[in-house]
Structures are given as structure tokens and as C-alpha cells.
Symmetry: C2
Subunit: 320 residues, 2 copies
């Protein structure tokens, strides 16, 4: 993937330095925790999108760098709180904060990273970033709350699932792309299309993430997998099986999904296979990725545009 | 206390309506949780301070109302996350979110309220509120992180304790007072003094809160008490005993404080009594309240100024 970042490599290194510079505390106990937290991000996909969106419109400013750091900090904050929600123990091959410290530290660290992100955004002269970012994060939280309140509800329909991941994941993708184009001075219609690119890409990304949670290799992905089933979260492969299955299979699948214990994944594997659940999910993800790609139509050719295009491939083919 | 709110009674009702109006969701499960969350605030002290600070400089605008709702939402978010940190079960005579739902719901609800607060603040034309609020909340989080990392550390000195509560509690008081004066068009020196009023008032308030946690009547206060000792959090009364006690008593107090189980409070009571720990703490709180009061010196007499003055009495004499 990292070759896709070539058009913005230097800027991304600068963003990395900014994040490390910001996340310091003069109190040793706090400092250790905060530095650890910033290791847990990973692909730096959201800041890369923001910078590429700017570069696609020929302009990457100092504000872009700040905003790229901001979206990554917000993303990291949500990861750390997610690991509490999912009771996950590994992230990016490292112990999660809730395991290495405890749930309380995770709560506070997530809060700290988020408030710090908003603090950075608020240093910019315009209040548009705070407006766009706080709107997006509010939608992210509402999506997470909705998903939480629907745990154990296996009547969830595919449309509702897409709505939820559109909020909890795709909104931050959309907001990064929007800010990237906006701060490059792109016309409003182009800003809107970049946001739509990000939103569709985010949905495709999350569908694949949910497939990997059921079907991925924990060593390779580097984080706890199988947590969705443990948390009784219905994601696309399971939703598809429940829609497509005959009555007998459906009953059995529901019984397994609601069962206690840790062997649900093995017990469900034959059903995922029988109903082509992973292939089905990848096909849906591909539709969203294609929709994302179409939004790039009127951007003049450049290495940044090409990278944005290739990212619509990457989100489907990625195995981590 | 509510008679102190007389100069801003109508505005405070409007703020209450705004909060209720904002905290709605079209998703039933989310809506129930969010509405419950907004019942958990209490005295509405922070919005009252913001409005009184405006009124003291003769001007309460629409922006004041929005900002008052914002500080209350931020405060409520911190309460909900605090209840996770303290494993508290009761708040304002109601079950806490972590008890009525679970820790995960508390994490998400706190996040939702906080992001919603920033979203509201970002709707104002100026980006000063986002700047001031995000700076304050970042300091609040750092204070909480620091307190968390010092749990079980009974060598904590009084100065460090004051620094920590100055961050985790007083910063939001200061920020509310600052914004109130600022948006009333007060001169910078007066804005700074109002912030200093808030900061000192907040420290006094938290010292008394910590005394009530050890010495209050749970029925009357309406929230879980004794959580500081359970969480091995050294607050002023205990810090004082450890400073003032002879070597034998000190050893015994440390042994009790570090002991497991729920009878630490009863076992420590004789020592709090012997070393006048509560009276000592109230005297320190009074010093900060007096310091707060002095900041009001150059404000022309008005019912708002009088209310701000009386609040410096109230924070000491309050029993809830």
C-alpha cells in the first residue's frame, strides 16, 4: 500500500512528526500512556486520504498537515474506545491499552486524544474544520451507539448495516477527503464529490474489515479477530447467510450465533461457505469501491488522482 | 442554591430546553440512553456561572445560551466517564449508566455528548469558543490521566493534589466564566479575572466534593460515596493526615488505605477526627473561595455580581 502514498510521502512524514511532537506530557505516567497510544494507529490511511485529496487539487498547505494529524488522532481515539467495546486484546501486533493498562486508562486516553485533536483543529484561523470534524465525530458516535444497541439483534437488515457502517466508519473518511479538497481551494461541487468518494471508500473498507474479522489470519492482520461474533454483532456475511439460508439452516445459524462460548466461528464456517457469504460481501464492497472511483471522473490526471483510484482497489484486496 | 440563579433564571430554563432539544435521536435505543444521560447532570452550576459572568458585565446573548448548554454537556460527558473510572453506581439519586446499561454504553454516551457539545460550539461564528473549550477539556483529561496514574500513591503532596483538581475540575469552571465575560464584551483584564474567579471557585468546590466523598450522607448527596478510598485515590483529608500524623499513626493509616475490602472508611474515621482532617480541608477550600471572591472586586454592583459572590459561600457550605 505504501507506494500509493508516494505523491505525499514527505507530507505524511511531517504529519507523523507532528503527532509525535503533540503527544507528550510532562507527567511521566501520562506520557508513557499517550506515546503508546500513538503507536496503535496503523496504516495512516485517513491522513493519507486527506493529503491526496489536497494534492489532487494541486495544493497541500500547512493547514492540510495539521488536519491530517487531527483526523489520525481522532481515528486513534475511536480505536482505543473500540477496543474497550470489543474487549479486544491485540491491535497492530501490540497489546491494546485495555489489556496492557485497563479499561479506565483506555477511556481517558481516548478522551485525551480526541480533545487534543479538536484543540489542534481549533488553532487554525477558520472554524470550518471544527464544524466539519465535530459534525463527523458526532455521527461516528451515533453510529457506534446504534450498533451497540443492536447487538444480539439478528434481524438486522443489510440496508441498516450499511447505514451504521456509513456512520461509524465512512463518515471520518468522507470528512478527511472533504477537508483535503476544501483547503486546496477546490470548487464546492468537487469538494462534495471528494466527500462522496471518501464515504463510499469507507463503506467498502469496513465491509472488508468485517469479513477479515470472520475470515482473516490473526497473525497477519495483527489484531484480535472474531470479536464481532463474540459481541453478537451481525455483520454483512452473517446478515447474508440469514437472508439466503433455508429455514432449517437459518434456525441452526441463529442458535449458534446466540450460543455462549468461543466456538461460534468454527461452527458457522460451513454456513458462510454454503451461502458464499464472503464472496457476496466482497461483491457488495466492490460496488461501493466502484462508486467511489466514479467520483474521481472530473479530476485532472495526476499521481495523486491515480493513488486515490488505486486505493479503491486496495480496500478490496487488502488482507490487513 | 437555586435562589442564587435568580438573575439568570429565564436564560437557564432556555438552556435546559436547548439541552433537551439537542439530545434526541431518531434511533430508539440511542434516544433512550441519550435522554437518560441528560438527567444525570445536576445543579447546572457551570452554565449558571457562564450566564452570571455574562450578566455581571451587563450582557447575555444568544451565544451565551449556546455556550452554557455546551459546558453542561461537556460536564455531563465527564461525569459519565468518571462513573466508569470510579465504578460508581448512583448519581443524582439515579442508577449510573454503567450500572443501568454497562461500561460500554457509558463510554459511547460520554463520547456522544462531548462530540455533540463541540458540534454546537462550532456553529457559532467565532472559533474562539472551540479554541477555549478544547484547550480546557484537554487539560481536564490530562488532569484525570494524572490522577489515575497516581492511584495508590500515598506520597502525593498537597500541592500536587491542588494542581490535579485545578486541571480536572477547575479548568471547566474557569473556561465557563471566561467565555461568559468574553461574550459580554468585557475588557481582557476583566475576562482574565473572571477566569481566575472560576478557577479558584472550582478548586474550592472539588476540595469540598472530596470531603463529602469521605464524610457525606449518601442519601442526601444522592451519589455513590467512598469511591476515592476504594479507588486508592488520595484526597486532601487523607493527604493531611499522612502529613500531620506521628510515625505510628501514619503506618497504620497507610496499612488501612492499602488494604482490600470495603471497611477502610470506618477504620480511617478515628484518624480523620484525631488530625482534624475535615476542618483542615474546609479551611484550605475557604482560602480558594476567598481568592475567588477577591476577583470580583472591580465588577460594578449588580444582582449577578452578588450571586457570584454568594456562590463562593455556597461551595463551602453545600452538603450535596
Amino acid at each position: 500500500m505504501h507506494e500509493l502514498y508516494a505523491p505525499i510521502r514527505e507530507e505524511l512524514s511531517e504529519v507523523e512528526r507532528m503527532i509525535r511532537h503533540e503527544l507528550r506530557s510532562r507527567h511521566a505516567g501520562v506520557d508513557e500512556l499517550v506515546r503508546y497510544g500513538c503507536l496503535l494507529g496503523g496504516k495512516r490511511l485517513r491522513p493519507a486520504l486527506l493529503l491526496l485529496a489536497g494534492r489532487a487539487f494541486d495544493r497541500v498547505t500547512r493547514d492540510h498537515l495539521v488536519l491530517a494529524a487531527v483526523v489520525e488522532l481522532i481515528h486513534t481515539a475511536t480505536l482505543i474506545h473500540d477496543d474497550v467495546l470489543d474487549e479486544a486484546s491485540t491491535r497492530r501486533h501490540l497489546a491494546t491499552v485495555n489489556v496492557r493498562w485497563d479499561t479506565k486508562s483506555s477511556v481517558l486516553l481516548g478522551d485525551y486524544l480526541f480533545t487534543h485533536a479538536i484543540f489542534l483543529a481549533a488553532q487554525l484561523p477558520s472554524n470550518v474544520p471544527c464544524r466539519v470534524l465535530s459534525r463527523a465525530t458526532r455521527i461516528v458516535c451515533e453510529g457506534e451507539l446504534r450498533q451497540k444497541s443492536l447487538r444480539g439483534d439478528f434481524t438486522l437488515h443489510e440496508d441498516q448495516y450499511i447505514e451504521i457502517i456509513g456512520a461509524k466508519t465512512a463518515e471520518l473518511f468522507a470528512c478527511g477527503c472533504e477537508l483535503g479538497a476544501l483547503f486546496a481551494g477546490a470548487p464546492q461541487a468537487s469538494v462534495d464529490r471528494m466527500a462522496l468518494y471518501g464515504r463510499n471508500l469507507g463503506v467498502a473498507f469496513q465491509i472488508v474489515d468485517d469479513v477479515l474479522d470472520l475470515n482473516g489470519d490473526e497473525q497477519r492482520v495483527g489484531k484480535s479477530l472474531g470479536t464481532d461474533l463474540e459481541q453478537q454483532k451481525a455483520t454483512l456475511p452473517l446478515i447474508h447467510v440469514l437472508q439466503a439460508a433455508n429455514a432449517g439452516d437459518r434456525r441452526e445459524v441463529l442458535e449458534i450465533a446466540r450460543r455462549n462460548g468461543n466456538h461460534r466461528l468454527e461452527a458457522l464456517a460451513p454456513f458462510f461457505h454454503r451461502y458464499d457469504a464472503f464472496a457476496y460481501s466482497y461483491a457488495v464492497a466492490r460496488r461501493f469501491a466502484d462508486e467511489a472511483e466514479q467520483q474521481l471522473d472530473d479530476i485532472p490526471p495526476s499521481s495523486a488522482r491515480e493513488a486515490l483510484q488505486k486505493l479503491t482497489e486496495f480496500v478490496i484486496s487488502r488482507s490487513l
